[in-house]
């Protein structure tokens, strides 16, 4: 199945040669005989569906996992990377998919973790040196970050910048970036791209992983595609475009990425007026009608999640009304919201979504015990049946409803959560970044599902940072900026440029 690598890519200035890499996690063959080469002075994109093995391959390169078989050569020298320290020594630096910082330490301490400059005495660390060098590094790459700030006080975007600086500090010859832009704002993304190009010019080899294929096309020189743990394609970007990449990833054409929906919009279901919250939502008002999908756009930190949290009762409201189907709600906690017919698919399924050690069925029924007649007693047989049906409706791939939730891949975990909320029979559903970090195939399924829910007459609020999907699926787009609603646009009558302009422009 391994496509032979184009000779040109394989041999010219090979910076990295990973040959015949296999890795098994218990029953899962995460990687099978993967051979992967990169050149110095180029950006090599690594793409594939969720669970294809991208992160695993790169963690092997970073010394986190040991391959079951295969060999690694860096700049022509065979390497055994038994732990991250050795990988760093060999010139490999990685930005991990999940934030990877010691939050109680300062920015400078994180950046120099593991390689502290020595102080005036032996066995000591020079705080002064660390801060000075951090400042220099940030200036060099044109990032602004206070070296002495504690990481726990930073925003997610700033944390990502610390991650980037940490990997740049190491003077690595190979830098791996595993979905680095998933929590960056547009502006920071642009800066990151500049940095990547700068590094390429300096002759580094960059391996870039992302589910945002537009980024790949914009940035990469070569593209390798992983599917089910195997390397199925590797080619120069000049020969590729998005549909071709998608084809290699999923093994078929993805027609109908944004399926058409018979818009059947009814009366107003949800009305929000004058909503402000302690978390920074300021005087927001909008309405959503039956059968309508309303998108919500904004830069990172614009306060979209905070609106969802205020409506769902997670953050305390300081003012405002929420009216659902004509009834004014007094929601003070998620339990109230769910009882009133609101569902929220949170943006972070690991932190606020799933109880990962528990069986899938328990996660599906968790908010629904009352709805399915198990308010005072649980009937395991009935629960099993209900969960199995709910899972089947969403085509969740699992060993059965009793399987532990952490045995599912990310995309399937997302589907599990959707199955949960479908069971709740809510009239108004909020989806906060439902496609973040999931692959194109799974995205298409989520879009299809949103459409079906709308057709069933639900009102949907769809929060997303990716304009194409908002434009592909929403009837209207709300634009947020700094906690305020600054635009309420009909999708067909606006353009991405207008939305971006509204989201980004400074107020004065």
């Amino acid at each position: 199945m391994n496509a032979p690598l184009p000779q040109a890519v394989a041999d010219r200035d090979a910076a990295l040669r990973m040959t015949g890499i296999s890795k098994r996690f218990g029953p899962v063959q995460a990687l099978c005989e993967v051979t992967f080469h990169t050149r110095a002075g180029s950006v090599h994109a690594l793409v594939g569906e969720n669970g294809a093995g991208k992160s695993t391959l790169m963690k092997i390169l970073a010394g986190v996992y040991q391959p079951d078989s295969g060999s690694i050569e860096i700049h022509g020298k065979p390497q055994i990377l038994a732990n991250p320290a050795q990988a760093i020594e060999a010139g490999v630096s990685m930005i991990y998919q999940e934030l990877d910082l010691a939050e109680h330490l300062t920015v400078a301490e994180n950046i120099f973790l593991g390689a502290e400059p020595q102080g005036p005495l032996p066995f000591t660390v020079s705080h002064h040196q660390m801060a000075a060098q951090t400042r220099r590094l940030a200036e060099q790459y044109n990032f602004r970050i206070p070296p002495d700030a504690k990481v726990e006080d930073l925003s997610t975007g700033d944390c990502q910048i610390v991650e980037i600086l940490k990997s740049l500090r190491r003077n690595a010859s190979i830098i791996v970036m595993d979905e680095p832009t998933s929590s960056l704002s547009e502006r920071e993304t642009v800066r990151l791209f500049e940095v990547v190009r700068q590094l390429r010019k300096r002759g580094l080899s960059i391996i870039y992983i992302s589910h945002r294929l537009e980024e790949i096309v914009e940035l990469a020189d070569e593209v390798s595609v992983l599917r089910d743990g195997q390397l199925v394609h590797s080619e120069s970007i000049t020969q590729l475009d998005i549909p071709k990449i998608v084809h290699h990833m999923v093994g078929r054409e993805l027609t109908d990425f944004f399926p058409q929906r018979k818009a059947n919009i009814g009366d107003v279901i949800l009305e929000v007026a004058g909503l402000s919250s302690e978390a920074g939502v300021r005087d927001v008002a909008f309405q959503i009608r039956r059968g309508e999908i309303v998108g919500m756009a904004g830069l990172v930190g614009a306060g979209r999640t905070e609106i969802a949290r205020a409506i769902f009762g997670v953050d305390a409201r300081t003012s405002g009304r929420i009216v659902l189907e004509g009834r004014e709600l007094d929601v003070t906690c998620p339990a109230d919201a769910i009882a009133s017919g609101i569902a929220l698919l949170t943006e972070d399924r690991k932190r606020t979504g799933l109880c990962l050690q528990l069986p899938c069925s328990w996660n599906i029924t968790l908010p629904n015990l009352a709805q399915i007649g198990m308010k005072s007693l649980i009937c395991p047989a009935q629960e099993h049946r209900i969960a199995a049906e709910a899972g089947a409706r969403m085509a969740v791939k699992w060993a059965g409803p009793e399987a532990p939730t952490d045995s599912l891949s990310g995309g399937n975990q997302q589907k599990l959560l959707i199955a949960r909320w479908l069971l709740a029979h809510s009239t108004f559903m909020i989806f906060d970044e439902p496609t973040r970090g999931i692959d194109v195939g799974a995205k298409a399924e989520v879009y299809g599902l949103l459409n079906r829910l709308a057709e069933q007459g639900k009102a949907l609020l769809f929060i997303s940072s990716e304009l194409p999907e908002l434009f592909g699926i929403a009837d209207r787009i709300l634009v947020m900026r700094r906690g305020k609603l600054v635009g309420n646009l009909v999708t067909k009558q606006t353009t991405p440029e207008e939305v971006m302009h509204l989201a980004a422009v400074e107020e004065n």
Binding site: P27, V314, P334, A335, I338, L354, C355, L369, I378
Partner: protein, 317 residues
């Protein structure tokens, strides 16, 4: 399959220990009386361990159980004596028993409220109340104990040939099993311990459930305190010193995880009996208390290490 094996681990260990003791000391160990003795002395720890199981599954811990045992016992016995004097009759004893159980419940409630309303780690809150409850149990009768010579029912009498305390333990185990497995409270306990934020976002009233769990813990401790008082026909302010670690050890040997989300009633009771039979067996075999301490330490570490290995094997296969 392998997961099944893993869950059987504590049983297997218990079975092996009992079988070995039966083989080594058939005359003294393998008697109904000895078994009933061991069960009866496990009743106090077993009942408390039931409550601790729920607390640990919820991701918490309760270090105050030993002091709470002393306090509830002192309050219960004190009321019994006030109401009925040294020859307290049935009414006074029932009253004292209920008040003692109620005192335990209130202690647990206090823990629960402090943990949820001040948003403090359970370790800290119960470390504090551990000291405070102990102080109170001394203060109540000026550091002295209470004698309740007539209070023999719970701890010393038999029904159908079985000690009453053992029957109560059995009831509590059944109750705990039922609650954790078949009620929303039980389900929410697992969910909160597994991922508190997620449980909250799924509409679980986390605070209310935690308060319920800690209150139930207190209630069980109150019950255990009265059994203990009846076993020694006296309530002692020094009762239960260092008890918390014994209880936690039993729950952990039974397969619960201190990180929360994992644990079972059956595992816990097996863990409790395992420690009791081990102690009893060592004494019958003439192995000194000192060596018992080393053995029990090794078993705690060994049980959890085996569990860990079994788990990673289960994942690998």
């Amino acid at each position: 399959m392998s997961k099944f094996v893993r869950q059987l681990l504590p049983f297997a260990t218990l079975a092996i220990i009992v079988a070995a003791l039966a083989a080594l000391e058939p005359d003294t160990f393998l008697t109904t009386e000895n078994f009933l003795n061991v069960l009866s002395r496990s009743s106090v720890n077993g009942i408390i361990a039931m409550g601790m199981t729920a607390v640990i599954i919820s991701g918490g811990i309760d270090l105050s159980v030993g002091s709470m045992l002393a306090l509830a016992g002192m309050v219960g016995a004190g009321v019994m004596l006030k109401a009925g004097g040294p020859d307290a009759g049935a009414a006074a004893m029932v009253l004292g028993t209920l008040v003692g159980i109620g005192a335990g419940f209130l202690c647990g409630l206090l823990n629960g409220v402090l943990i949820t309303k001040l948003k403090l780690p359970p370790f800290i809150v119960t470390l504090g109340t551990m000291s405070a409850f102990r102080g109170l149990s001394y203060i109540i009768n000026n550091s002295k104990m209470y004698d309740v010579p007539t209070y023999t029912f719970l701890g010393q009498s038999h029904l159908f040939g079985v000690p009453v305390s053992v029957l109560i333990l059995a009831l509590v185990v059944l109750f705990g099993f039922f609650v954790l497995r078949y009620t929303p409270l039980g389900r929410y306990t697992y969910a909160i311990g597994s991922n508190r934020e997620a449980a909250f976002h799924a509409g679980v009233n986390v605070d209310r459930n935690l308060i319920a769990i800690y209150s139930m813990m207190g209630l069980f401790v109150g019950l255990a305190a009265m059994i203990q008082a009846s076993r020694t026909i006296s309530a002692q302010p020094t009762a239960g010193i260092s008890l918390e670690l014994d209880i936690i050890a039993a729950v952990v040997i039974g397969g619960a995880s201190l990180a929360g989300g994992r644990g079972t009633v059956v595992g816990t009771i097996v863990g409790t009996l395992l420690i009791s039979f081990l102690r009893n067996g060592c004494t019958l075999l003439g192995i000194s208390t000192n060596i018992q301490l080393v053995v029990i330490g090794a078993i705690i570490i060994g049980a959890v290490a085996l569990d860990q290995i079994a788990r990673s094997k289960a994942e690998a296969s």
